[in-house]
Assembly symmetry: C2
């Protein structure tokens, strides 16, 4: 009997030279020069050998960067891979897991794939997570921080409030966008062994194309995830991904410069969107979630697409259907966007 | 609640320059020169973008090589990844799946991970699959051809006999080692839409380090596997894996030369093992599964290890505990092995 599922649909990856791609939250800057060096040093002859199944060269760099033990780090093929494995490992109960109604749209897909019951907790009218919604019986909790696609950060005290009320289950904080100004739950790892943090090198480290994500947690929890990983695929990280990911982690100065530039552009872009009468949440991600009182999101999306400017429009809960998610690109890309929106009549 | 599993344990990946590594069925030759070119042409700057989620450049080459439609090819992170997803997709039933008692030891691990019931069908005394064991009610069938770790090929007529008796379930033929002289079930795809073939670039195409495996099947079946894949991780294949895998598929001449050399060394090695009084099945893989009447496999394993020669010894069903699986290396590596075994007193 075949398992029939409704898969997640990733944002499109259009080809073409003259396009402005603000639809999949990619980084507008290339990865660190360290990555280029690591790529040059790869030895094709060595590809005949299996990679280190524990990817320890990469794990080591991540652990060192965050001041953790190596046993507290799990790496995988992008944050989707590590989140999928975290769901499979940690949400193994008959009680429903909880996540926001407006959130990363992969959560219910994973839950359906693994037959995990779930309940969605509605965000409040300002699109904020309400910690009290996460204080009922459940089989685990997951939410992004900042949330996607809104960009809104849940303050660390509220994250702790949720952790504190759920010490008998695992709470996954999906920090795919944490490097653009948010406060990571990292300091809470010392006090909460029910906390699992997911991060990725796709956004803040410009490595979407190499597929590298990771989990941070207690040694015990990471060991359980590793057991499931070794029950799925012994060798997930290629020799190339291990070397390139490790190189990217080593270049802290470049990382800070890049993310700093993106934050600066985002804050400037907020002013521009305001000037053009858009409303939006105060995003701390590398994207803005915007709506216009006069122009429908769907029509704007299509008009921008015609112009070669790709943004993301989600079918999804009704109250977000009139929103667009716009990745923060370079200053020039954003200027082209605003210049079009102005001409369009926003 | 945590899912607690007993993971598969991969063969060790020892470091060191003076070792002879015959323990994980790697190819003793480097990948095609086309791979080196593809590696040189990778653009680190492009890594900031997501890869093509459908990996179509790679899918296209595989389809062209085997004369299939692109919709008949599914690619993933090594054959373990594609097999894991095939289990998850195709074995979604309360009836037990069937596989041999002596076989790739990942099958029961996947079944346990996904809570798939299973039954093992014992090989006969010559370690051969008995097609009649696969004619009872079941939730699906999987077996390697050639079988691992024996190397014994099930003739195509018997593969067809099994397919024919099981048209209501999916039969996965795991052809990780088919390129070393066996007959692929590929021609049967036309007649059996319950057939799914798994192959890998790790062995015959010297790309273990880059993690590339694939499934071949009917368009309908491949679509279902893709739905599950897109419900797990949208982007599994990195830009590097896509480009390098596609390059390897294009170099048919090199592939034939390499696999030809390995077959030649294997056949010569059979003579040497015989001369030293080993018994073994007539392997069509890139490995031999050998036992000696006087020397225990475990002791031989340890003595070889001391010498820097790594082979594989499986704890497992009792009747294979006195066997060693020896990967076919270069002629020189095999000569070093035989020279040690001779000195050891075999």
């Amino acid at each position: 009997m075949i398992r029939k599922v409704q898969p997640y649909v990733p944002g499109e990856q259009p080809n073409g030279t003259n396009i402005i791609k603000l639809n999949t939250n990619e980084n507008p800057y290339p990865p660190s020069p360290f990555v280029e060096d690591a790529l040059k040093n790869l030895d094709a002859g060595a590809f005949r050998r299996y990679p280190d199944p524990s990817a320890s060269a990469l794990v080591k760099e991540i652990a060192a960067y965050y001041g953790l033990e190596e046993g507290q780090v799990f790496v995988g093929v992008g944050s989707d891979d590590v989140l999928a494995l975290a769901f499979l490992t940690c949400f193994h109960s008959d009680r429903p897991i909880l996540f926001p109604d407006i959130t990363y749209s992969f959560y219910d897909v994973w839950a359906n794939l693994f037959c995990i019951p779930y309940e969605k907790a509605p965000l409040d009218d300002a699109f904020q997570i309400r910690p009290e919604d996460y204080k009922k019986e459940n089989g685990g909790i997951v939410f992004p921080n900042p949330n996607a696609p809104t960009g809104i950060l849940t303050p660390l005290e509220q994250v702790e409030e949720i952790l504190c009320a759920n010490t008998d289950v695992i709470v996954i904080v999906d920090e795919a966008y944490i490097d653009f100004g948010g406060s990571s739950a990292l300091p809470l790892l010392k006090r909460y062994d029910n906390l699992l943090i997911a991060q990725t090198m796709s956004k803040s480290r410009s490595l979407a194309g190499m597929r590298i994500g990771f989990l941070l947690g207690s040694q015990k929890l990471i060991r359980y995830v590793n057991d499931c990983k070794y029950s799925f695929n012994s060798y997930t990280m290629s020799q190339a991904a291990i070397a390139i990911g490790a190189a990217a982690m080593r270049d802290k100065a470049y990382f800070l410069e890049c993310t700093g530039n993106i934050i600066e552009t985002r804050e400037w872009a907020k002013g521009e969107f305001q000037r053009l009468n858009f409303s939006f949440a105060d995003s701390l991600g590398n994207f803005l979630f915007v709506t216009h009182p006069k122009h429908s999101a769907r029509k704007l999306f299509e008009a921008l697409r015609q112009e070669g400017i790709f943004v993301r429009h989600f079918q999804g809960p009704e109250r977000i259907q009139n929103y667009l998610r716009v990745t923060v690109g370079t200053r020039e890309e954003m200027e082209a966007l605003f210049s079009f929106l102005e001409k369009y009549g926003c």
